[in-house]
Subunit: 441 residues, 2 copies
């Protein structure tokens, strides 16, 4: 349950594949294309691929905005795209502001080879982790005091790990903020097709149609890893409104261009309007159902999650289970969940959350039966815990206060060490599918 | 004729594809694999892919050495692999020594985002551009005098643009040199399956079996872009004998991993011993024939090339056609060949050659008829030039001396500008197929 993957609608994809053999250049139907595709290495990417991606991005945003294929820059997955935009916009030592909690691998993807810094913008549970002008301003001023050059703000919308979309007013605040400071705004919108309930997703592409700003400062990261569930295909996209960034980024495509075989295949698939419309609708419905099953299952044993409308995960509030409100206690609980409950979840501190006790739990990378097993394990765990204190969970939530955990051992280091393993260094997930708890088995 | 691509044996590949539909996950025969492949994102790569690549690398080296799949690190094409190893081995400001003439895009691929420097090791035509100990030592000492930290030597074997393999003695010299200095040796062996005549290719993997050295200093770059002719598939490999580099490089795979779709397809293809053996044999024979046709066609009009045994290009000696022995005169001749003769060739200065008048001409990215057209154009050009001075080419080669060109205009800037265009920023070629002279049409 630690991997933010979307496996709920692969049946639709598999059906499409078998009906469209010529979409693959590696079939008797498609082999006549093989030669041209195999030797293709234009950094612009296949025209039909860029067109299809631009159209798909528009559809995902409800057709309310359109995207220019000429502004699409290819990169090696969302990871490569994130690094590419950072290389384009900043020099070593420069910084970006990032609202917390944020995707843990940003610390590696954005900083490692570029030499830039990330400065957290503190968001808190008291207002559902909303990004405020005050928090942005404080982070900016602190950087200035330390003589750090702030080059921009990076947000994920929908948020990973929160599973919430960034509301219109917040995005307007952000645009005004970066426009006033004349710094960049990078919007990671890789979960934009995972919206399963209201409010609707609003892309930064829509906001800048309404709010006056210097468009040269606006950039979108996209990928098919989450929305389609194809992380293995390494499709990363930078969509920039800034010509210089498009030109520079395109040259950087050489370091991680999307395989032309994959471009060709996906160009065919994403150009099929009927398939895409059905996929987006079905995927959203299945995510809604899965989210409902999971969160209501948790609620039955008194576990609340942040109210969310998107993503492949819940932001689970286990603050009441901490022995004390510290990250050390969060680690104790995390180790317990990993080793005793045998569920792979991700602790909040790895997302730079400032409040101990939050955990990200993914619910879309397994089948219904596996989800039931996971819920059952959680139920047994909570009931056992509750039994100890003789406070029935359903009758009173006082157990949460009474039952702070007392498991010993463990430290933050253990989680950080686990992040260092190559298999864990996977994009948009701090845990690999091969690791730890597979509830499937 | 500016693009180093191998299109001579695609018929074998196409035949294999049609006979093996299940090798593609995007066929009715392969669709049951789709789900697992699409979500695959382990930075080690598919086990069967790494096994197949290791085995293929061994076969290409005549089975005289074997490669450990666990040492194979995936990257986005040879470009991504070259950058990755540079990031692993050096800090900004550090330098690598590179024997000249060398692949022009090294200046972008290796330096741009890593901040390292390249220091040329001067090789000259007087000894067929051999890499000497004296030249290496001189470059090293000069760097030290300038307080530049030399981290290693990078060679391409077979050489691009020379089309020659690096002989055993030279490689032993190199290994002793880097071992003595305790610096790294990076061997770009992406043309290793393009050997078409004696002497045989000797990989650095063979040399270090014979010569005592610190193996932690030895690294190989590989790719399927040239040997198989699949640049579009973006298969880049770093093979390192250094555990720390393997571990670090594998984490960097996240920025440009090979598409799992492509990994799966190529794993099947490269695991087919019969196909691979036939491909390697046939490809070599066709390259030999093509090289023979092309060089003898050039010789008929008095043009000599460096004697070569590998690669997809000739290193053509047009020194006699220069108005004067300068790079300005080389530019004049280059512009003439591009604009008047309508052939896309690459001037020697772009490869950092220290002697004006050498040009790289590619011969494997076209069919026989197109090659004939190219040769015809060269013939007409030379004959017209010869006619002017009334010295028949076939009777006397004095025309070479008498016919220094007098075309005006042009400068080095023009070529450098052309390199800045995104379509030109393609791996292992300073020119894109879409650009300039297509003799096909």
């Amino acid at each position: 349950m630690g991997l933010a993957e979307n496996q709920l609608s692969f049946d639709l994809v598999e059906e499409w594949i078998t009906k469209h053999p010529s979409a693959s250049i590696c079939t008797s139907e498609g082999v006549q294309m093989f030669r041209d595709i195999a030797i293709f290495q234009d950094y612009h990417g296949l025209t039909e691929f860029r067109n299809a991606v631009a159209r798909f991005m528009g559809k995902v945003r409800g057709g309310r905005v359109s995207f220019d294929p000429a502004r699409i820059v290819l990169a090696g997955g969302a990871t490569g795209a994130s690094e590419l935009i950072t290389f384009c916009l900043a020099d070593p030592g420069d910084a970006f502001l990032v609202p917390t909690p944020y995707y843990p691998a940003f610390d590696r993807d954005l900083k490692w080879r570029t030499g830039i810094q990330l400065i957290p913008v503190i968001c808190e549970s008291s207002n559902n982790f909303k990004i405020t002008k005050e928090a942005l301003e404080e982070a900016f001023q602190n950087a200035q005091k330390s003589s750090i050059k702030v080059k921009g703000v990076i947000i994920a919308n929908p948020s990973n790990p929160l599973g919430t979309t960034v509301e219109r007013e917040t995005q307007i605040t952000l645009v005004n903020f970066i426009n006033e400071k004349q710094i960049h705004l990078v919007c990671d919108e890789i979960y934009s097709a995972t919206i399963f309930s209201r409010p609707n997703f609003i892309s930064i592409a829509e906001i800048i149609e309404e709010v006056e700003c210097n468009r040269d400062l606006i950039h979108i990261i996209y990928s098919l890893s989450k929305d389609m569930g194809f992380p293995g295909f390494r499709v990363g996209i930078v969509y920039s409104y800034n010509d210089a960034v498009v030109n520079c980024g395109r040259k950087m495509s050489s370091f991680g261009l999307v395989s032309s075989q994959t471009q060709h295949f996906l160009a065919s698939m994403l150009s099929d309007d009927e398939f895409v419309d059905d996929f987006l609708k079905t995927s959203s419905m299945r995510l809604a159902k899965r989210h409902q099953t999971f969160t209501s299952g948790l609620e039955e044993v008194g576990i609340k999650c942040l109210n969310s409308n998107a993503g492949l995960f819940c932001w689970m509030d286990l603050r009441a289970l901490l022995k004390e409100p510290t990250f050390e206690a969060e680690m104790v609980l995390w180790r317990l969940i990993i080793h005793k409950v045998k569920l792979n979840v991700s602790p909040g501190f790895s997302f730079h959350c400032v409040e101990p006790g939050w955990f990200r739990v993914c619910f879309a990378n397994m089948d219904d039966a596996t989800l039931e097993i996971a819920l059952k394990r959680i139920r047994i765990f909570i009931q056992a815990t509750v039994k100890k204190s003789d406070v029935p969970a359903k009758k009173s939530k006082q157990w949460q206060k009474n039952l702070r955990l007392s498991f010993s051992g463990g430290s933050r280091c253990e989680y950080e060490e686990s992040l260092k393993s190559p298999s864990v260094m996977s994009p948009h997930s701090p845990m690999s599918p091969a690791q730890l708890v597979q509830t499937r088995t």
